[in-house]
């Protein structure tokens, strides 16, 4: 499999060509430095993202509270994570760092609140 991608590790934005052979070996070309290779390899094998979203809130000064996955999760798990977050309804108050969902989408990563929302 071959993928073209922009390296985002620095403003240079090198255009990488990443090839994965049948035996699983990954080759990166087009990179100017080592970080580009690391990035290309990760994006090809298992791209990871921090997901930020909103959780619905009852009895708060605002109807929603911002939240995020405490660590990056596999990109493929994002839709499931968003679904689980959308299904939540929490009660105010929420503090930054409060766990909103433990182990989201079976990733072993928690979703935590990122705003302080007082009760009404």
């Amino acid at each position: 499999m071959t993928k073209e991608m922009i390296c985002i590790s620095c403003p240079m934005g090198c255009m990488l060509t990443v090839v994965q052979e049948a035996d699983g070996e990954v080759r990166v070309t087009g990179n100017t430095c080592k970080r580009g290779e690391t990035y290309g390899r990760q994006e090809m094998t298992c791209p990871m993202r921090v997901v930020t979203s909103l959780v619905r809130l009852e009895g708060g000064v605002r109807p929603v509270c911002s939240c995020k996955t405490r660590q990056p999760i596999p990109k493929a798990k994002i839709p499931q994570a968003l679904e689980e977050i959308a299904a939540q309804l929490k009660r105010a108050p929420l503090r930054r760092g409060d766990v909103v969902i433990a182990d989201v989408a079976g990733t072993g990563v928690d979703v935590i609140a990122t705003s302080d929302i007082a009760a009404r």
């Binding site: 991608m5 922009i6 997901v51 929603v64 930054r96």
Partner: protein
Amino acid sequence: MNRKADVVVIGGGPAGLAAALQADAAGASVLVLERDKEPGGILQQCIHNGFGLHYFGEELTGPEYAGRFIDRVKQTGIEILTDTMVLEFTADRRVLAVSAEHGLLEIEAGAIVLAMGCRERTRGALSIPGTRPAGVFTAGCAQRLTNMEGYMPGRQVVILGSGDIGLIMARRMTWEGAKVMAVCELMPYSSGLNRNIVQCLVDNDIPLKFNHTVVRIHGRERVEAVTISEVDVKTKRPIPGTEETIPCDTLLLSVGLLPENELSIAAGVEMDSVTSGAVVDEERQTSIPGVFACGNVLHVHDLVDNVSHEAELAGRSAAAFAKHPAPAARAHRVIAEGGVRYAVPQMLSDKAEGKIDLYFRVGDVYRGAALLVKSGERTLLRRKKPIMTPGEMEKVTVDVTGLTDDVHLSIETEG
């Protein structure tokens, strides 16, 4: 009601809070005036992560970054008045404000820090032909509705402008269940970060159309579609025959930010026509003695980390002025030329010495060019940079001890 404070900070965003903390640490009595219900500024609505890598050494979301500063402020004697809008300040440092709780306030300030941030450019400045139905928002307004009011502005979206706010909103609206049809960019390049192009658009299969603009908005009550068109790279005029009509219920505009300087202009602060912010010296003092400026009201920053550093400097300077009001005489100008669009500070005072950070932006994409900083015949710095782009603010540190001449920043493309 009449009040007094050593340092009055106008605006309680990241710039205002960082300035207040430093002024307080220097022993000044500090009053922060914020028109919103709570401090934190624009960061409260920027719920994505990507803040604080430089300042805190970890990646935070906007509300987390603001929250850390608010926590610090709470541990001090700094007073923050929210729901308080500043109407005017004068050259003799009187601040007039109106507050929901206290009514009209007149405050005598030892020094003033301007930290009012930016406002988004709106469609009026763009004048797209067609009807004026509901469903046209600035990207920042849509961001506030979605992230703070829990209200989704639309289901099927076209975005005009590929600045970072537009890119971030493309991902947000997709993640919250909307369909983003396209992002149109008038220029042949994006002013947004590569990281946002990849993680917001490419990740979600959203097309980015360079050299494109919106030429018509359709719909009576609500947006029903927009017509986009390719533009000539040179003239920026739509090319006939390239129109395409995209059904949508929402058009988001992400066409840039403008420092919010009505108050500064009314007070007679000298302005820089490129940054649309005040002209300042190395202490961030404006042309009015005792009035300082920092953050997005001074020049548009892409990283809040730089805002915090700049604001700390302004806060320290303001506290020092409140203690010993000695107006600094302007000694040398800092001149941006030859590919450098602007530099901040624009002035150096007669007190400037030692190492000073100069922030600047270039007007084009430069690969393998060098930045040159000269004063008369003296070369203060020549720094080769692999890449410089208009979208990223650059910083260099130079020693200005014993200068006898103006400072010139330019780009050297050869050698």
